[in-house]
Each structure stands twice: as C-alpha cells, then as structure tokens.
Amino acid sequence: MKLFGMKPSTVTLSNGKTVVMKRSQTPFVVLLLVVLTIAAGKLTGFNIVELFERLPALWVILEQLFNPNFAYASKLWIPLLDTIKMSFIGSALGALLALPMAYLASSNMISNRVVVSLSKFFLSVLRTLPTLIVASIATFILGLGTMAGTVAIFMFTIAYVGKLLYEQIENADMKAYDAMLSVGMTPLQSFRYAILPQVLPSYLSTALFSFEGNVRYASILGLVGAGGIGLMLNENIGWRNYSNVGMILLLLMVTVIVIETISETLRKKLI
C-alpha cells in the first residue's frame, strides 16, 4: 500500500542490474499516530500532571491491599462457596441446554432455514448481552441473591457453549451420518451416533473452559447484588476497607488458580 506518493529510489548493482528500492512508510505512520494520540488526550481532558500528583493515593491503597486482613477470611467461606455453586450450577445447566440449541442452529442437521436462523440469532443475542447486565435484570425479577447470578451465568453459558458447539457440528464429517441414515436411523438418531461422538470431546472441553471463566465472572456479579463473594467485595470497597478487599482478592485468586488447574488437567485428558 502506498500512503504518501513517495518516489521509490533505484540502485544500480555492480553488474549493471537496477533494483527499485521501496521507501519505508513507517516514519509517516509513527508521526500520524503521535498526532492522533495528542489529539485524543486533548479531547478526553487527560492530564498527565494530575496523574502523578494523585499517585501517592494509589500507594496507600496498594499498601493496604498487600496487607490482607487474614482474620476476615473466616467470614468469606460461605460467600465464596456461593460463588462457586453459582458458577458450577449455571455452567452445568447452560452447557446441557446448549446441546439442543446447537443442534437446532446447525444448518447441516436442520433443513428448515427459519429454525436455523432463529436459533443462531437467539444465541448471538444471548451472547451480546453482558453478563453483568443480565445479572442486574435478574435481581429485579428474582430478588437479590445467588439465584440471579446463577441465571445470568446459565444464559451466558448457553450462548457461549452453544455457539462453539454448532460450529463444531457444522464442520463435522458427514460421511458416517450418511451411513447411519442408510441403516434406517432418523436424522436425530444419526446425529446421536455419528456426529455426537465427533464433537463430544470438544463440547466437554468447552463446557469446562466456560466454567473456568464463569468462576471469575461470578465473583464480580455480587457488584450488582447477585450474591456470592462479589457482594463482600462491593461492601468493602464502599467502606474503603482495602485490607479486607486484599483478603477477598487473594482468596479469589487462589480459588481461580485451583479451579483452572483442575479444569486444565481434565481438558488435556479429553483432547
């Protein structure tokens, strides 16, 4: 691509051949980026001096964060367990319902185009809704508590696992499916025997991966009142009690690492 009509220079080699040297565009691109960055800073009122002036406040918070209040841990076990329960039940039910949804959204399984497009549309709408928003809406309907969080995670998991699964199904090898039909099976039975074995390992792996991510999501769902440890996080940030916040974050980190390690080992065995 030629951005600025610069003339290329020609070099003559010792044997008389000429080579056209392309001039680099990089200096111009860098200049443009610098100008745009300065303009963006002006536009958003960014002030670098203020950033440095307020820096000490950050040290105060960080100092407290890194001195977690270990005594507070005893009050955290039940909310933490709530968070894990929320993500586990939400993920398990979501992944289960993702299977029929993905089947309906697969153009090679369902010949009715309306059903396929509607299912795909439904899945993408679910996916575009931020989990935090779904959770806050759910708290209006179901009241504050873990139920709202479970519903939010459940819906996100259907969309996430469903999308990846229908892509797997659409890319599956149809030869065995053909053979199942020729034996006299219905399309659904043929799916069960020819397609499901092909997609099962990646389906389970996706479900586990989504559970892993959901534990992290679930911990912040408390911010909108959807139960679990996020509720304590929200409270303590509000009270400016940063050593309690530090304790919560530490506990969350350990939990997420433990669950990720378990899930990773399981997933490695699947593939």
């Binding site: 030869k175 065995a176 053909d178 199942m180 020729s182 034996v183 006299g184 099976m185 219905t186 092909q198």
Partner: protein
Amino acid sequence: MIQFKEVGLTYPNGFQGLKDVNVTIEQGEYVAVIGLSGAGKSTFIRCVNRMNEITEGELIVQGQNVPTLNKKEVRQMRRSIGMVFQSFNLITRATVLKNVLVSFVPDLPVWRKVFGIFTKEEKMKALEALDRVGILDKAFVRVDQLSGGQQQRVALARTLAQEPSIILADEPVASLDPVTAKAVMDDFRTFNKELNMTVIMNIHHVELALEYASRVIGIRAGEVVYDGPASDVNEAVLSAIYNGQLPEEIGGE
C-alpha cells in the same frame, strides 16, 4: 426385485442426473454399474434406498413404490437395504464392535437408543458378522487405527449385521489397493452366492466388474446405454459407455 420404470431425476440446480431409466433387477443378481465419473452411477444407486429422490417415473423396491413412501416407511425399507461407501463412512472415534452395533439401533427401545446400550445377543450377532469378514480379532480396536481394507471390512460387517436382502455398494474398492480390492470383491461374491443378497455395485475398475458381476449396466450422461450379461461386454460396448474413449484410459487403475 427392483424395478425402474421411466425413472428420471433432476437436481434442484436443474442438472439432469437420470433420464428415462428402465431396469429390472431380480433378487440375487450381482450387478455392476459402470460409466464415467459424473455419469450418474451414484445417483442411480442412491435412488434405490431414497438417499436421492427421483423426480419422474416409478421405482418399485420389494413391492413398494419408493417415491410414495413416507419418512417412516423409508426408514423401514432402509432396514433391509445395506449400503457400502467408497470412504467406508465409519464412526472413526468408536471401536470396530460399536460401528457394527449401530446397525441394530433403529430397532432398539428409546432409552437404549439414547444411551447406546446393547444386549448380549446383539453383541454376539455383531461379532459373528465381524467373523464372517475375517476381522474378529480387531473387535475392540478403534476404527481409525485400521488399514483401509480392514475399515471396508468393518463397513461390510455393519451391513451384514443388518441382514439386508439388497446391498448397494458405491465404489467400495476405489480407495483400496488391488490385492485388498480383490479380497473385498470376494466378500461381496460370498454374500451374493451364499446369502442370496442382491448386489448393485458402482465400480470404476472394468476388469474387476467383468470378473465378478453377472450383469453389467452402463450409464452415460444419465442414460442406460448398456444392460446385459457381463460376458457380452466387448470393446465396442465399453467404447459406447465411456463416450468413445478407450476403456484402458479410464477403466484401469
């Protein structure tokens, strides 16, 4: 008995796959269908168990007019028609035995269909089918670890377990080496002779076709241009089927 009466097939894109086909095949015949790629051999075979739908004429298979059957009747009909494919079409992640057991699935009660649970008798029948094609020792091996010839035998066992009266074979030996191809052709001959199964086979390899089949149907551009005993097939007939090209150029491996 299979009867094609003025059968025509036009694909949704307007391509005419079959034109005015009139063929009668008696129970127990061994028919080889030959012709150029794209001439309509596969279309011809796949009409019989309605994997392809004909658009004109009548197609009577074992007394039923295939185009008029509803979905359930089609599935019922397919139970008695085995199908063997060029690329074997096995469930590659499953064991040999499981691949054979699937032929019992349509007759299982719903809960056993869902969970894939098979009785001892069904397993015995599947193992016997594997024994017939000589790969009993591979019963618990995963299919993707077998050679092409062995995989085609698994597919044969799957078809055999179905106890069909008709076997449709779509290029069953095209992806096998010459020696294995002969062995698989021998298996088909055994089923045909000993179990009185009708065999209708698409085949590129003219030599093998003439050696094994009792009857040859030549298809060119969707039309049947030759239908007669294999012993009557000569250079002129082949030239007509293969559009004037020498059969050695296309027929041989």
